[in-house]
Amino acid sequence: MSDEKPPLGSWRRVYAAIILYLILLIALFTAFTARWNQ
């Protein structure tokens, strides 16, 4: 049941990818605010 293969080979890699994605989103939001919000 629980031995289905996770994406990216392991769950740890999936979690790490999501954390990187979150950091990227925050960076994009910051750049977006700096560029457009006056």
Binding site: I18, L25, F29, N37, Q38
Partner: protein
Amino acid sequence: MRPADWAVLLASLVGIVGYGLYKGRGSDTTSKYLLAGRTMPWYAMALSIMATQASAITFISTTGQAYADGMRFVQMYLGLPLAMIIIAAWIAPRFHESGVYTAYEYLERRFDTRVRALVSLIFLIQRGLAVGVALSAPALVLTVIMGWPANVTSLVMGVIVVGYTVAGGIATVTWTDFVQMLIMTAGLLAALICAIWMSPVSLGEAMNVAGAAGRLNPAVWTVDWNNSYNILSGLIGGLFLSLAYFGCDQSQVQRYLTGKSIAQAKLSLLFNAIAKIPMQFTILFTGAMVFVFFTFTQPPVTFDSSAAKRIERSEGYAQAKSEYDAAWQARRSAATRLPEAAAEFKSAQERLDTARARAAGLAGVKAGADTNYIFLSFVTHYMPVGIVGLIMAAIFAAAMSTISAEVNSLATVSVVDVYKRYVRKDREDRHYLRAARWATAFWGAYAVVTAQYAANLGSLIEVVNKVGSLFYGGLIGVFVLAFFVPRATARGALWGVLVGEAAIFYMWLRTDIFYLWFNAIGCLVVVAAGYAVSLSNRKPQPR
């Protein structure tokens, strides 16, 4: 609404209910009725989780919030991906492996029956308060915008939801959520495209206008402990709020307990970790584009038509209206010369806000109290035929998906944690299946009846929502003790919840601390108090 809009709305409702009942047929055991026989694929659970969280009032008011206040609200969701990782890694596998029907059933296995009873009671109070409001809130807004009687709207919506939830159980709820989420996404994208397309300026110029008005602010790094959304409150407060909601609230836990494997449950949670923030960003960006639209098309003094009538009858309205018109013209003129005329635009925006507040004040109406009416007012007055019906279908879908999950989870806790545990033990499965159907019907009827009262007590909605948020710190704290503190005892958990809830109520009543912090601080108090009491016990309980 024109006939084509009605056709789209009715076709959507019939399609949703028909598809859900078809997919939920054969729910003839409690396992199938309450957990879909643990057969759900990840994508159905993923969209069900998302649809359950997106209520109609969130859909309606989030766009209005961006119109009035900008996009900073999106930061509230920054902690969500982290919460999803924690739940996927530690919480969901334990729930699945223990084979429980409810999150609170797990607490009896870990602690004792008192802790399970207390936390089940907290859930029933909290969700019981919320479910009537979830039904009445969109009905109230639709009353003002469409002229539909609030009681009739909530009754029709309630009867449809309760009908399919009683008939098909969680399989029907999950598959209707799946379709409802697709309709919501279609409605949202249609609204965004229309808002951009209907503005007389290019997208780049529209961004200049929204930015000059301070509406494009999804990242705020300034820390304010007492108010507002910023990166830190979003990451920490949002993390605890999401942990409580997705990890401890049965209305969400039950979604991923239906998974055919732990891996499928994890995938459904992690899909939300990725998709939720872009979705909220899109909703808020739509609100910012609606703001741009009303920079070039004059908006009313207030979008709440019933308040507008009172304002128009007030003494001094003509003078206030002429000031408002002049301020709007000045802002429009400056908007066409951005970014060079940024200072002039801001000054005109301030004049417009002042004139608006003054006009609203003539009838004792609070300026900015019309946030919930902005989006629907834009949709019904300016959007093309057919799209209006699609967006109305999206709003109905958002309301129904939330209510069905709440009714379904309230019934599950009532039967599994109360009825089966304390009232009628050791009866055959068919008896509990019947009880679950009756409990679903009861909570549905309860939602419809309380919605009738909530419709007459509109100002209480905010209060009830806040009261609901007061319990999450206690919930998350007791589950932290259960999962991560091996030495925690039943007595410690019980006292931890009681002390933690007392601390949260103290913060609410006696301090100005922003409510997002209640979850984090409340959880810490529960864990600290629970651990301290556990240590004072001579005999720690085995895990």
